[in-house]
Symmetry: C2
Subunit: 236 residues, 2 copies
């Protein structure tokens, strides 16, 4: 199967969670919008009559068109060997992924608390008020939640599902990378309490396919156009 | 199977999407936190070591504990006869439900644009600025998306999946009810362009188990403590 990923071609954004899964599994895939005429193809599928996605990312797998980041990962997981096959485990993995989706939404809304259609500088006053609630309350709550789950397993079960590596670990790596980029001060202060998440992120970065991806041109850099943006004034 | 639903006992909130599915299917379930000592049980499960949910609602099904509204519905769907069994259809239904989750998050953040831990009156200035972007841009985009999907089916296929009724229709009913409660002016103006969604909501309300539920004490009223809140100043 050759997968086609449709996502904005210039940012990591929500598409990165899917890219990491495809890359770790060495899947055969095309990042469509980064190829010639790819943006036209993306736009046409958004406007399609049958099963249109609400927004990117979406994945074409044969005749199937799948939208919503967590739904794509839930579909790819068993096919790429990135989640155990038992339904109970897959539901738990998906539940964790949906919690990551919630965190990502909150991170986006720090720099866009009023409207997606406005620029950051047009809602900076509100962003300045929102940011400390995120770094002081929400960031510790979300990351503490995942740290506790990791702590609940023994040393021989270093992944969020326990012994089994999964796409959720890849997404947690992306969360740690993104938060360190966007909020270096807040994360530096917080990471003392997150040794297991930090160690997980290190192990993921060292996986050969991820190391190769991160140093390739396929991997876009973080920037102030994506979800994780570094505005020093929001990280005091 | 006797299901146990765990959700805040005084609001419809996100739990209502699960309640509607259980009620329509006449499932055997307990709304735990509304029973004696139920809140204690809810809190204990939130603090549990094994597979703790991040937040309510969550569902206990035998020894399984499932969190995240859309994940609960994905699990219940085939078991309650509320979604076709084919994987392709279930993925599409779940994708639509996740889009409803996104809409619900945006509705919540209208009255809480700065922090969940603050009261509305403490972030009213920002809410007043955010609300018109929702009613003018996001509400038409989301509801127009679902209206178009309904329009794409023929007259003999009046549900969002086409011929098959599903839990997604029940959730769209809740969306229409909630938005009409919270934004009566904006919805009155908009509904002319949403005849199929309006007709769907009417048909859902007329389903015998839903009619019975809505007039029972099991159904909590909308209020200014839930997701859909009626603040006239946000509906100009």
């Amino acid at each position: 199967m050759r997968y086609e990923l449709y996502y904005w071609p210039t940012i990591q954004g929500r598409g990165e969670f899917v890219r990491l899964a495809l890359e770790d599994a060495c899947a055969n895939y095309l990042d469509v919008a980064r190829s010639a005429k790819g943006m036209g193809a993306l736009t046409r599928l958004l406007d399609s009559d049958k099963s249109p996605p609400f927004a990117p990312p979406f994945l074409k797998a044969g005749s199937l068109l799948i939208g919503q980041t967590a739904n794509i990962l839930q579909y790819l997981g068993p096919r790429l060997g990135l989640v155990p096959k038992a339904e109970t485990t897959r539901l738990w993995a998906h539940q964790l992924q949906l919690t990551i989706v919630d965190l990502v939404d909150e991170v986006h809304d720090i720099h866009h608390p009023i409207a997606s259609s406005l620029y950051y500088h047009q809602q900076k006053r509100e962003a300045l008020r929102r940011a400390p609630y995120f770094t002081d309350e929400r960031l510790p709550k979300y990351l503490g939640y995942f740290e506790n789950i990791l702590a609940g397993h023994g040393r021989r079960s270093p992944y969020v599902l326990g012994k089994s590596f999964s796409y959720v670990d890849l997404s947690l790596f992306q969360i740690m990378s993104g938060l360190r980029y966007a909020f270096p001060r807040a994360m530096k202060k917080r990471e003392r309490k997150l040794p297991r998440l930090a160690s997980l992120a290190e192990r993921i970065a060292a996986r050969p396919n991820i190391t190769a991806y991160l140093s390739s041109t396929r991997c876009l850099p973080f920037s102030e156009h994506g979800i994780f943006r570094h505005y020093p004034e929001l990280d005091r």
